[in-house]
Symmetry: C3
Subunit: 323 residues, 3 copies
Amino acid sequence: MMRPTTLESPPLRHLLTIDGLSRTQIVSILDLAESFLPVGERAVKKVPLLRGKTVVNLFFEPSTRTRMTFELAAKRLSADVLNLEVGTSSTRKGETLLDTLQNLEAMQMDMLVVRHAESGAADFFARYAAPHVSVLNAGDGRHAHPTQALLDMFTIRRHKREFTTLSVAIVGDVAHSRVARSQIHALRILGVPDIRVVAPRTLLPAAIESLGVHVFPRLEPALRDCDVVIALRLQRERMQGTQLPSENEYFRHYGVDAARLRLARPDAIVMHPGPINRNVEIASAVADGPQSVILEQVTNGIAVRMAVMAEVLGRAPARAMTA
Amino acid sequence: MMRPTTLESPPLRHLLTIDGLSRTQIVSILDLAESFLPVGERAVKKVPLLRGKTVVNLFFEPSTRTRMTFELAAKRLSADVLNLEVGTSSTRKGETLLDTLQNLEAMQMDMLVVRHAESGAADFFARYAAPHVSVLNAGDGRHAHPTQALLDMFTIRRHKREFTTLSVAIVGDVAHSRVARSQIHALRILGVPDIRVVAPRTLLPAAIESLGVHVFPRLEPALRDCDVVIALRLQRERMQGTQLPSENEYFRHYGVDAARLRLARPDAIVMHPGPINRNVEIASAVADGPQSVILEQVTNGIAVRMAVMAEVLGRAPARAMTA
Amino acid sequence: MMRPTTLESPPLRHLLTIDGLSRTQIVSILDLAESFLPVGERAVKKVPLLRGKTVVNLFFEPSTRTRMTFELAAKRLSADVLNLEVGTSSTRKGETLLDTLQNLEAMQMDMLVVRHAESGAADFFARYAAPHVSVLNAGDGRHAHPTQALLDMFTIRRHKREFTTLSVAIVGDVAHSRVARSQIHALRILGVPDIRVVAPRTLLPAAIESLGVHVFPRLEPALRDCDVVIALRLQRERMQGTQLPSENEYFRHYGVDAARLRLARPDAIVMHPGPINRNVEIASAVADGPQSVILEQVTNGIAVRMAVMAEVLGRAPARAMTA
């Protein structure tokens, strides 16, 4: 767990977005995650690193998978975990977000894992958090989902080793996807030279090229000689008011199926943040096929979240001194 | 915890149904449960046997009592427990059962406790489970509820010692009862010579005699000289479309009351899987009377579930080697 | 943790109401809480006092904050915690309260934390609880909320040291407030000579003076030279059928704002049981101002609840002998 900290990459306090992280910071988390990966394979899947810490999962938006992997990460680090699922509408008898934060701090929580339908919610909590509290963004609106991007980078690195020679295709609803946004930032920071984005025009954000990606209106050319294919989830619940093609039509044009996958490099890997819509974003045969690393992503997600938690809680000198 | 394993009774990997278990296997679990019973009486109700294991309670059908006793059993074995209550309708954004299983496996769960309204759900999970994962059926449709039957056998054995001389009466809605089905299998395997089933014709399955039981249309003759009386819960929620008598009428004909109980042996015990409908299946005075062992069943349920968990996780040689 | 126990103050078994506690008993809990307060500041916020105990949070009425602080208190004492949120309407497939209690006892719970919309619910559970089970009232109807009153006394003592010279003003909906009732009992037992109650006539119970308080129809005179100002929450959900002024009107007459607070002593503290309705019971500037100890109350609440749990579980000789 010892690692060089340079002036350019101070230890992380929060993890809110990928944008703004240094290459060193990302690599440091991936290396730490590598050391946590075997914990999940052991008979006793537990290390005492966060024993006696209080981690609060504050989910304003339901997400079984993300909540469970954060909860497992915290428990495998021996933390005490409190789950708090809050309907955005009721917001706890009219309490403001700030009151919620301050009350959780008064309960001496050490870490807040927050998911919210509004972009910027995690930043809000971080801006007002007490000095000893770390905030982890578990997805906010269309903005960012940084632990998802980190686990994706971790998964790519385990298969491809070098980022600086890769071609990566991101397929699907980029406009509504905080996952895509965070992935693109991470890929760029890690030096991926060729990032391709494929989506119907209605699912593309306006100035997407400014992020340094190549836009492809059609899937086939985008897949050609790719090393990594990432299919995004069709976020039906976030697409009200947009002109969405039918699922059949979407699959016909943008579904990653076996025939199209043959356009990519033979050793290309296929990723998806889950849960998958079979035969909508991805053909079942591909999701379950030899090139799919979708379930590895889930496993890696726990190791990466353990690493982020260890990273932010290992940082504070004040905390360390009271230890 | 050392016990002889013979060729006829390989160590259990899953517990899906009672049917097919050997007498040795059942007795082995009951013996193990006997050793766990004192844990619940201790000041520190905990043993480290499953420390660092991940147990997932996946309940597609709500059941406070069963979920709590499985959760307590796992926690008293020092496992980490994740509760997942899933409305059958939503099924997590349309994810298939198989995807759910594979995602939980990717999270490195060791044991899946599953309850589902459809018969065969636990078998489905077991059929597709990875080699290191054990599946425990916590009730599936009308099919089976094996831990309930085991805790019932455990309770009977603590009071009656020998199974091979007993007369047992099972009273009530046999047709919709996975509990009754599992009980009948267990009683037969343990050598109970006289199993009596009492129910109105509409609540009797077609070929019930083929299970080796004697059918009684009326309660009184069925209770005569019985050693054990098991009242079943009226499963109103599972009886849509059947011709159900009113609760008053049901109690008049099939309710276990004090007068009828006098027909049984003086030392007969009265059981019920709970939660009881007072003065429907059973008179309040009987439920709370000296012959009732209904609350003992709850206590025993934790010890039996601990035993089943220890049994299935103690089994795998591959697991043991990585320990 | 060693403390003198006298004949007049036997060790507590349950905590149901403040009324009837001796000064010695209350001071003993506050002293114990003082010893738990540093636990929340430590790197490892955990002591092993209740390891292997089973604490059940049985909430028939939702309350995120109270449930969380009880859960954290139990977890920081190393207990195993089970949360059970029960809609009052369904009451678990028609099971009676008594059946619920007996089933939880059969699961060998050691402590029941209960919240219920009906006054007397906690007393009911305590009356029928098995000898080894302790019941803590987490709020029952309009009756009592004793741990809230104890944490309030703890907070007052940390700021004011002596109770016997204090003037305390309680402002707001006294009629529907179990908090106010418990506070008044506690203040009287601790020897506070001047307890003032301020509320519109419709929010005052009939015989409130019999509790030994002075009633003020207007806020300003009640605040004059006060040491402690306690604003109560407007319990809209409990006020159906009463003539409630609008929130604006309420604030105009009874809101604790900066101008009015200047009538109190310069070192007066401002308290609120939370969650606050900003600019209804209390001005935002006051809630967040230097005299507010509202968030300290939350922190103290965990230490006080740890103390109560340690107190009631430390009591039983039978328990101690099996330890």
